[in-house]
């Protein structure tokens, strides 16, 4: 069936082995005028090498300050069906397992009320419903909550939809119940998720181990990363099996042929702290020097496992570049046990938010505020003692804000006595 707009450039994107979003949209376009116009608009963008969307106005569902991104096209004259093309962010179930039953229902709702196009998933983690009109927002919301038990995710100066890695659901290394932690945060802070109260957005992400499969350290204002405090568990026999070529190194990441693992070169020499030794029969790890980087475990998953005294390292401040340049999260709490009801963690979160809300400027992320006021102020606010694990290196500039409380007489000076000792 011929579509309304010719799309010679987009058609080029139907070629090649990777699944084509163009083919997919075209399929929908046959019965969805919104999709037809979207293709036309996109083709025009390809010609102009410029996008054709305007700033979104404030649209949303009643009582929520987030969850919908308003979007209007700048050529409604040509593409009336995408004149309005708002996005709804549906809060995904933690780590994105779905029953087909739920998914199909979601599809039905969306086909009825919107474009029928989605993003599975948005970068933050939401299940994104891409393109609808203002009048459809409330009906969709109603049906989501009533029929699916689903709710909207975050946008604006809110807590954003938290997300975690697959964790204990299907990974042997997880030191955390990532799903449960994410679910707990999401539920406990529904108000913060839906109603803007912060200086800017705030993101949580949780990875079960330092491999950080959800990229928490790069993109969450508060990154929760699983770790352990005791020893790596070693199965010496399995180590020997790797060395002997009976097991495939790195779980097959580099190929599946059985080959002898060169344990010295592939493991010991790549250990960042060089805290391992292989004497030809046994592997020794000096765990007190291990920085739990995961490399050895990654390479020998059947021989090595994280310890059992598990918990999280809490790091704060990651964000994209706007304004001061991108930041990674920094260690704030080297180790915290993470067990329900997560009280210690909640207390930390609330102290952190209080400080941020009190001191943060408009559009200032937590990481930028810490930069501006100093890590010291943040630690004071969250009542955490300074620890060398928070830094890569102590300061190298001599510009120290000494605390007057530590100085005899504080900042008081006796100018007269001074000039008695030192004539001007």
């Amino acid at each position: 069936m011929a579509l309304k707009h010719a799309t010679p450039m987009l058609d080029e994107l139907e070629k090649g082995p990777w699944p084509s979003f163009v083919t997919d949209i075209k399929r929908m376009a046959a019965r969805k005028p919104m999709c037809e116009d979207l293709l036309g608009l996109l083709e025009m963008s390809y010609e102009h090498k410029e996008g054709h969307w305007k700033h979104g106005g404030i649209v949303g569902v009643f009582g929520y300050g987030g969850g919908v991104i308003g979007r209007y096209c700048d050529r409604p004259d040509l593409f009336p069906n995408v004149a309005h093309f708002h996005t709804m962010r549906v809060n995904q179930p933690a780590s994105k397992f779905y029953s087909t039953e739920a998914l199909r229902k979601l599809c039905d709702i969306w086909e009825e009320h919107g474009s029928g196009l989605t993003n599975m998933h948005g970068s933050t983690g939401d299940c994104i419903l891409l393109g609808t009109t203002t009048d459809q927002l409330e009906p969709i919301f109603y049906r989501l909550t009533h029929e699916l038990g689903m709710d909207l995710g975050g946008s604006g100066s809110n807590m954003r939809t938290p997300e975690g890695c697959v964790g204990r659901a299907r990974c042997e290394w997880s030191c955390l119940d990532t799903q449960d932690i994410i679910y707990d945060i999401t539920i406990k802070y529904q108000d913060e998720l839906h109603r803007p109260m912060f200086p800017y957005k705030f993101k949580f992400k949780a990875s079960g181990c330092p491999n950080d499969c959800v990229a928490a350290i790069a993109r969450a204002d508060c990154s929760i990363i699983g770790t352990w405090r005791d020893k790596i568990r070693i199965d010496q026999e399995a180590v020997r099996a790797y060395v002997g070529g009976e097991l495939v190194p790195n779980g097959g990441s580099h190929g599946f042929e059985k080959r002898k693992l060169d344990i010295q070169k592939e493991v010991i020499d790549l250990c960042p702290t060089r805290c391992m030794e292989w004497d030809g029969k046994n592997l020794k790890i000096w765990d007190e020097d291990c920085t739990r980087c995961m490399h050895c475990i990654n390479v020998m998953p059947r021989a090595l496992r994280p310890g059992t005294d598990v918990g999280a390292t809490i790091l704060c401040g990651a964000k994209a570049p706007i304004l001061e340049g991108a930041q990674l999260s920094s260690v704030i709490i080297p180790f915290m046990k993470m067990e329900p009801p997560y009280e210690e963690f909640h207390e930390f979160v609330e102290k952190m938010w209080d400080w941020w809300m009190e001191n943060g400027k408009n559009r200032e992320r937590l990481g930028e505020l810490i930069q501006r006021l100093g890590l010291r102020e943040f630690l004071k606010a969250v009542e955490v003692q300074p620890d060398p694990r928070m830094i890569n290196t102590p300061r190298f500039n001599p510009y120290i804000f000494y605390d007057p409380a530590d100085v005899p007489g504080g900042w008081e000076r006796d100018a007269k006595a001074y000039r008695e000792r030192h004539h001007a």
Partner: protein
């Protein structure tokens, strides 16, 4: 009680959050939650996880465009219903994972997937190029300098052989963000594709005072390039173009300052970032190519430059070495030499932390 547009508060449900995760766990996952003992990749895209109970779950990972129609999702559901007891999941990089609880179910599942044209390429595990994390581009956002889905498609077509194989020295994570806001958080990717503007904003003096909060606009500029200015009768702003580095933050605050420009905009490529703490700490990606023009529909220069970088890496790096680790071992001077990429003044940082990137040692390679 269906939705009643005349009384939206009726039966209103709010703040329920997402369904509890385990509601959607397949039984094998629920039963073995926290009990997994080890895993193995059986072939690219196919994982087995073995539980302490002896149970096994087989996962088939397939690549997908992130932009999916409900039709395609329904097809995914069909497959999941047929083979996986009605469950499916997505990964953090937008791949789809089909799981079965018995080895015997694996082949039928894979055969089915392979029978459906090229919709469900199997791969993305281990030392591969997995799916490209990306953003909206011209499909939905108002600030992009480039498209997203189209570039990703063109790149993945070209690198397809690396998706379904384990031939690389280590995993390679490619991401795309269509403007400096970097929604994909591409700043820590092995290879990042970033939309950049290169012309200062147009100032629509007649509109500024109507559609923008001038003080917020001024505060938005990281380099303090924007000052208030009266133009005729209009309260507007002026921009010191010499201080503009095209970040677009002013446009975010003010629609009367459009930056997009077909001739000016394009792509910057970044390399060597990583997220995992494995071996070396997480790293930011660094500038590789300052600018490549937008070349729709298939962005050949971008695609070929990425391929060249990837293959230079593939042939030169040691096993386990991520791109950033490889470059740090050989040195940036060798990276530019080996890839043939020109080193230009844009590579030299001149922002806040610039000093920390300069070479304060005589150690370098000729």
């Amino acid at each position: 009680m269906p939705f009643d547009p005349s009384d939206i508060m009726k039966d209103r449900i709010t703040d329920i959050g997402p369904p509890k995760y385990d509601k959607f766990f397949p039984p094998i996952i629920k039963e073995n939650y926290g009990k997994w003992k080890y895993h193995e990749i059986l072939e690219p895209g196919v994982l087995v996880h073995v539980s302490e109970t002896g149970a096994e779950v087989y996962t088939v990972r397939v690549g997908a465009a992130r932009l999916l129609s409900v039709d395609l999702i329904r097809e995914i559901c069909d497959i999941a219903d047929k083979h996986c007891g009605g469950y499916v999941r997505w990964t953090t990089r937008n791949n789809i994972e089909f799981m079965v609880d018995d080895k015997s179910k694996l082949k039928p599942l894979m055969d089915d997937l392979r029978s459906r044209g090229n919709w469900f390429p199997i791969g993305g595990t281990g030392a591969s190029v997995t799916n490209v994390v990306h953003t909206q581009g011209w499909v939905h956002c108002h600030t992009p300098a480039i498209d997203a889905s189209g570039i990703v498609k063109a790149v993945m077509d070209e690198l397809f052989e690396y998706f379904g194989s384990h031939k690389l020295p280590a995993q390679v994570r490619i991401s795309l963000a269509c403007c400096l806001n970097m929604c994909g958080a591409v700043h820590c990717s092995d290879i990042a594709i970033l939309g950049v503007h290169r012309k200062p904003p147009i100032i629509e003096h007649e509109r500024v005072q109507n559609v923008c909060e001038i003080p917020l606009v001024i505060a938005a500029c990281p380099t303090a390039a924007i000052k208030p200015k009266k133009v005729g009768d209009y309260k507007s702003v002026e921009i010191n173009e010499n201080r503009c580095m095209f970040c677009g933050n002013c446009y975010t605050m003010c629609p009367a300052l459009p930056l997009a420009d077909g001739e000016g905009d394009g792509i910057a490529l970044w390399v060597g970032g990583k997220v995992s703490n494995s071996r070396v700490p997480p790293k930011f990606s660094k500038l590789a190519v300052p600018y490549i023009p937008n070349e729709p529909p298939r962005w050949p220069t971008t695609v070929q430059t990425i391929k060249k970088m990837l293959e230079t890496y593939a042939s030169d790096a040691k096993r386990y070495e991520r791109i950033g680790e490889w470059i740090e071992r050989i040195g940036w001077e060798k990276f530019f030499e080996k890839t043939g990429i020109e080193f230009r003044h844009e590579h030299i940082d001149d922002y806040r932390l610039a000093m920390t990137t300069w070479r304060t040692t005589t150690q370098f390679k000729f």
